[in-house]
Every structure is written in C-alpha cells, then in structure tokens.
C-alpha cells in the first residue's frame, strides 16, 4: 500500500453532517464481485443525475472543473456513519482520495480508513469551516498540505493545525501497512504458537 508521509492536494468541501456509507457508495453500485471498480460509484446519488446513471450533476462539487483531481475531502460531523460496508472506503480510495478532514467519523468507517491507507483527520468544526472557506476561494491554488510525520494540516496561507492520531494507526499509514502486513510482522510468534499448539492439539492440523 502507498505510504502516507506528506501529501498536498486539491481539497473539496462537502460539509454536511452524517454523510453515511450509503451516500458514499449506494448499494446498487456494489453489484460487483470485487473491491475494484467502485470509484465510479462514489457519491453516485449526488454525482449523477439519475440512479444508476452516469450523466454528471454539474453542481456537485467533485464534478466542477476546478476540483478535478481532488485528493482531500472536508466533511461534516459523523462522516462515514451507517452501514459497516467497507466498500465506502474502497470507493473513496479508488477515486483518489488520500485524506478526509472532518469533526468526527463513524467508528467502523474510521477503522476501515486506517486499514486501507486512507488518513482520517479529526479537527473541530470551526477549523474545518475555516479550511473550506480558504479552499473554496481558489481550489486549484489553495491546496492543503498534510504532514503525518508532524501531524499537521497546513493551509495555503501558512496557517497550521496540529491533529491527533493513535500511534499504531500512524505507524500503519506511514509504513503503508494494511492490517495483514502489520500482523505478518509477528510471523515468528504465529509460527511458534503453531509449533507448540501442534503438540498440544495435533488433531486441529489437517496439513
């Protein structure tokens, strides 16, 4: 997975509260046998004029030319609440989103972000609003910069906000580890357990 250290990018504001995973990726967009191909369905209900259609809604922020290539989202309270579908994170990631800044996140969604290399940053609502006001004035020029090493978000005018993130989550994101890679760092312990367990419960092992 791509490591997350610093990132600078076009930032789109979507400040409504309670953007749930069904809005992020409607269930009708999840018909595939795969994690891939979901980017197209991201925010489908808002992004396209008709359910299941592909004609872009000109007003929707991500469809506006000045927001092309958006890689950071600004969200409202409780971003990613609702159904536990991990497809929401897969869709955001495939679309090209690297980080989401919001006052708070749905807890399963937050964990799914960390597990998939997407950085969720919690900042107070007034800060998120201030950031939105800045980027809206000139989205292409006024990009945000995120430094995970320093744990800061810096706006185009140089104002800088620190944020908190759990040390283990930060380690995973900075090393580009997903949960499997993180566990595989403990491979020796798993093998030692199996060796001892095989002597204790030999019947469990079919090979």
């Amino acid at each position: 997975m791509e490591k997350f250290r610093q990132h600078r990018g076009v930032t789109a504001p979507l400040l409504r509260a309670n953007i749930d995973t069904d809005a992020i990726i409607p269930s009708r967009e999840m018909k595939r046998v795969s994690k891939l191909g979901l980017g197209e369905g991201l925010f489908a209900g808002w992004r396209y004029t008709l359910p299941g259609g592909r004609e872009p809604h000109a007003d929707f922020v991500l469809n506006r030319p000045e927001y092309a290539g958006t890689s950071i989202l600004l969200g409202g309270d409780n971003f990613g609440c609702g159904s536990s579908r991990e497809h929401a994170v897969w869709a955001l990631k495939e679309y090209g989103i690297r980080a989401i800044i919001a006052p708070s996140f749905g807890s399963i969604f937050y964990n799914n972000c960390i597990g998939n290399g997407l950085l969720p940053i919690a900042l107070p609502f007034d800060v998120v609003q201030a950031l939105a006001a800045q980027v809206e004035s000139a989205p292409r020029q006024r990009q945000l910069s995120i430094d995970l090493e320093q744990r800061t978000v810096t706006a185009a005018d140089g104002q800088c906000w620190p944020f908190d993130i759990d040390a283990a989550a930060r380690h995973m994101l900075m090393q580009g580890l997903d949960r499997i890679a993180l566990t595989l760092e403990k491979r020796d312990q798993i093998e030692a357990f199996e060796a001892a367990d095989r002597a204790r419960r030999p019947w469990v092992y079919l090979a």
Binding site: V33, K35, N112, T183, I190, F193, W203
Partner: protein, 480 residues
C-alpha cells in the same frame, strides 16, 4: 476464581497479546461462501497474497445458487453466475476445498461445516457470514466476520480481537410438548431483546440444553447473532463426541483419542463467574412465533399482537406502529388464526435431518391447505440424500411441499428466489427483517413443526391443536 468455557477457549488460542485490549487469536478453520468469499479470495490474490494454510480453508456455494432441480451455474439473481464462476476460479487458484454446485457434499456453509467434521468442539472457526455461530452447537467458538477480516484470517491464520464479555443463559426444566429448540431461542430473544446479548459471548446451559440433540443445539446457537451475541455455544458432551466421530475431516486414531479427551474436559468451572447470567424456566415456553420485523417481536402462540395504543413510551410506540404497518396486522388480535400465503422450511437454522423428520412425522397423511405455497429446501445435499433414503421427500411432496436442491434459497432475497411481492410467509428461518424474503414479504419466524402445522391449516396455528385432532381422528377411525 474459576474460568468459563469462553475463558478457556480464548486462552487456548492466544498467539500473543497486542495491547491492553486486543490479542492475536489463532483461527483453526475458515469457511467461505460464494457471496462474500469470492470477494475475499479475489482481493487477497489481487494484493499478491496467499491463503497461508489452504488445508484449513473451505468454501461452498449456497447463497446465490439456485435450488431448482437440475440446476447449474445460471441463477435467478442477475449476475449470480459471476459470483459462482469467480468463486470457483478463485478457490481453485487458492488451493482450498470447494463444495461446488453439484458436489455431493454441497450445502449451506454452517450445515456442511458440521456434517463434514470441519468445525470441531473447542476450535475457532470464522466465516464471512453472520450465522457462523451455528457451530457453537458443537462447542466450537465460531462467529461471523467481515470480508477484510476473512482475508486477514486466510493470510495470517489469526485475527486481532478484543475479548468479549461472558454470559450464561440457563434453560431450566423440561420442554413442554410441541416446543422445540427454535421456540427456546425465539422466547429468549423475545423476552430479553434483540440486543440482549450485545458484547457477549453466550454459553447456553441448563438441563433443557443438555437434553437437546446436537442438531437442536445448533438451532439455538444459530440465532445467537439475532440476540446480538458475538458467539453462542454449548459445552461439548458425549452426544457431541458421538456426532463428530467418523466425519470426513474429523480426527482419527490416536489423534481422535487425544481430541475426545480434550473435548471432555471443556466446560465452565463450577465457580466460573460470568459478566451476566439469565435464567429461563422452560415451563414458561410455548411454541413461539414472530409477529413483527425483528426477531425480538415474538409472542407465544396463544398470545396477542401488541397494541401500540397500550404503549406509553413514544419511541416504542413508533417502533410498534412501523412494524405493524409493514406486517399489515391488527393490533390486539391473536397471532394464531393469521392467514398465510406460503410456508418455508429450510435455512441454517432448521434444515437438518432431524428438522425434516419432525416435519414429516407431523405431515404424514396430511395436506397443505389450498392456496398455500409450501417449499422445503434441505440444508445440504447430504441431508437431501439421507431424507430421500428415509422417504421423507415423498411425505413432503404428497403433503404438497416442493422438494428442492440444497442452498439458502428463500431464507434471504438478493434478486433471486421469493414467494412474491407482499406475500405472508411462515418460515423456519432466522430473520424477519423488512424485505428479507423479498419485496414487501411479511415473514413470521417459527419452528419447523409450527411452520408445517400452519401450512396445513392455512393460517398460523398452535401445532398441538392439530396434533390433538390427529390423535382424535385416528382414534375415531380405530373405533369405527
């Protein structure tokens, strides 16, 4: 302080502690099905990872596959074939065991993993499917996981987990006549709520549980998740050991002896302390049926549909209104006597051989009421063969049931099989959520016996009424 069975199973599977809350837990068996397993296998491969111990990973085709006789890969559900084909090729590449569409051992994941001896007492087993807890009936610690966790388990043979709280539910005394395992679990959820087990691993215990067969215990554990429990299980005993002996993937020889000795000592210590304990007197349990849109909305067969007007709490009143509105029922009416359009016997809750025997004992010499569509779907191809060897298929067909190939079938709707829009169904399954069995379908959960009796009566009925009648008419015939 003594340890609970859950404490012991947890301790036996700790690879290492990760932090204050979480441990890395060893996973003995992984089961997949074509609906979620396909995605997990493909995604694992796409990330360049492998199934690290393919011998411990199994997969079946149950959710999407058709259950019509002569079935192939085509399904009623649009794009179902894609899932089946993707699963077949991903399972082949991963080198795991697949019970394919027409394999002699195909069936519903949780039925197959018990009958093949894949789930073992005291083992950890996960499957990306919420009803994996069924295998707790064997004394396994088994639970449903998400697709990404399934990838994690396949790649590392472990999961990073926080230990749940422990609960014991004691079913005291003996079952009333006509009452089955399904009624016990519906009663528990009705009395203690669909969230009653939230955050707990639940041990089912007490004389009534000890007296149940292994298959009946699986019925109870199957619905532990409808109680919001993480897992539900029963301590293994001689019945379980007899059940497991000789199954295809069960241990043999010296391994068998060692395993049986280990299983025999798996139980909660007499002085074990639980975070919560519930006592239920089985004398209070009658055949139980759901009237609403979650399994908590259940009443005993002699009971009445609740009246929102009698409910003081505003939120609860709204909930009742909503459920009654969907179910199109009259507040305050008796649940018995509600006319039905269809009856379904099947699912991982109640589709094993003992369920079909109970149904056929009742159905012999009776007919499904006119206008009621009745379908029976065996839980596995092996159950199907065993039932046919006993002639159960003939009894069902003569009574007016359709007899199908095995699979999940009408237990859940994903664009495939359904009785039709808005139909009222009495069903031996485990979920009565809105739309679970098809658009606007109204589901009443009940035991297989209550489903069979209601199919015959054309309405929801206490099976004991008909059983009484049956005896009477036989007596009359004999006397005449």
């Amino acid at each position: 302080m003594g340890q609970s069975l859950y404490d012991k199973l947890w301790a036996d599977h700790i690879v290492t502690a990760l932090d204050e809350q979480r441990s890395l837990i060893y996973i003995d068996r992984i089961f997949l099905h074509e609906r979620t397993g396909s995605i997990a296998l493909q995604s694992l491969a796409a990330d360049g990872r492998q199934v690290s111990k393919p011998a411990h990973v199994f997969c079946t085709m149950d959710h999407i596959v058709d259950t019509f006789p002569g079935r192939g890969d085509a399904t009623l559900m649009p794009s179902g074939r894609d899932f089946i084909e993707a699963t077949r090729s991903a399972a082949g590449e991963a080198g795991i065991t697949l019970f394919d569409v027409n394999d002699a051992n195909q069936g519903i994941a949780h039925v197959v993993s018990a009958e093949q001896g894949i789930a073992l007492p005291g083992s950890t087993l996960v499957c990306p499917d919420s009803h994996t807890c069924t295998l707790g009936g064997l004394g396994a610690l088994a639970w449903g996981i998400g697709s990404t966790e399934a990838e994690h388990a396949m790649a590392t043979r472990t999961l990073a987990l926080q230990k749940a709280k422990s609960m014991r539910v004691n079913f005291r005394g003996q079952l009333n006549p006509g009452v089955s395992a399904k009624d016990l679990i519906l009663h528990l959820i009705g009395a203690h709520g669909a969230a009653g087990g939230l955050g707990y691993a639940v041990e089912f215990a007490g004389e009534a549980i000890k007296a149940l067969s292994v298959e009946e215990r699986m019925t109870i554990c199957n619905m532990a998740v409808e109680f919001s429990a993480l897992a539900g299980f029963v301590a293994p005993d001689e019945k379980v050991i007899d059940y497991v002996r000789g199954r295809p993937y069960a241990p043999t020889g010296a391994d068998w002896d060692a395993a049986a000795a280990y299983w025999r000592q798996l139980r909660s210590d007499a002085d074990a302390v639980f975070d919560a304990e519930i006592d239920i007197d089985c004398a209070d349990i009658q055949p139980t049926v759901t009237w609403g849109t979650n399994p908590q909305q259940a009443v005993s067969i002699g009971g009445r549909i609740p009246d929102p007007a009698q409910e003081a709490d505003n939120n609860r009143r709204q909930t009742l209104h909503k459920a009654l509105n969907y179910m199109q029922l009259t507040p305050g009416a008796t649940i018995a006597g509600t006319p039905i359009d269809a009856a379904f016997i099947g699912s991982c809750t109640n589709s094993r051989l003992s369920d079909l025997r109970a149904v056929c004992d009742f159905l012999k010499g009776r007919k499904v009421a006119d206008g009621v569509a009745a379908v029976c779907v065996p839980g596995s191809s092996q159950v199907k063969r065993a039932a046919e060897a006993e002639g159960l298929d003939k009894i069902l067909i003569e009574a007016g049931f359709e007899w199908r190939e095995s699979g999940c079938s009408m237990c859940f709707y994903a664009g495939g099989e359904t009785f039709g829009k808005g139909k009222r169904v009495i069903s031996s399954t485990n979920r009565n959520f809105e739309g679970r069995q098809g658009p606007e379908v109204k589901t009443h959960l009940a035991s297989p016996l209550t489903v069979a009796a209601s199919a015959v009566a054309g309405m929801i009925i206490d099976p004991r009424h008909l059983m009484g009648e049956h005896v009477d008419s036989e007596q009359l015939a004999n006397e005449g």
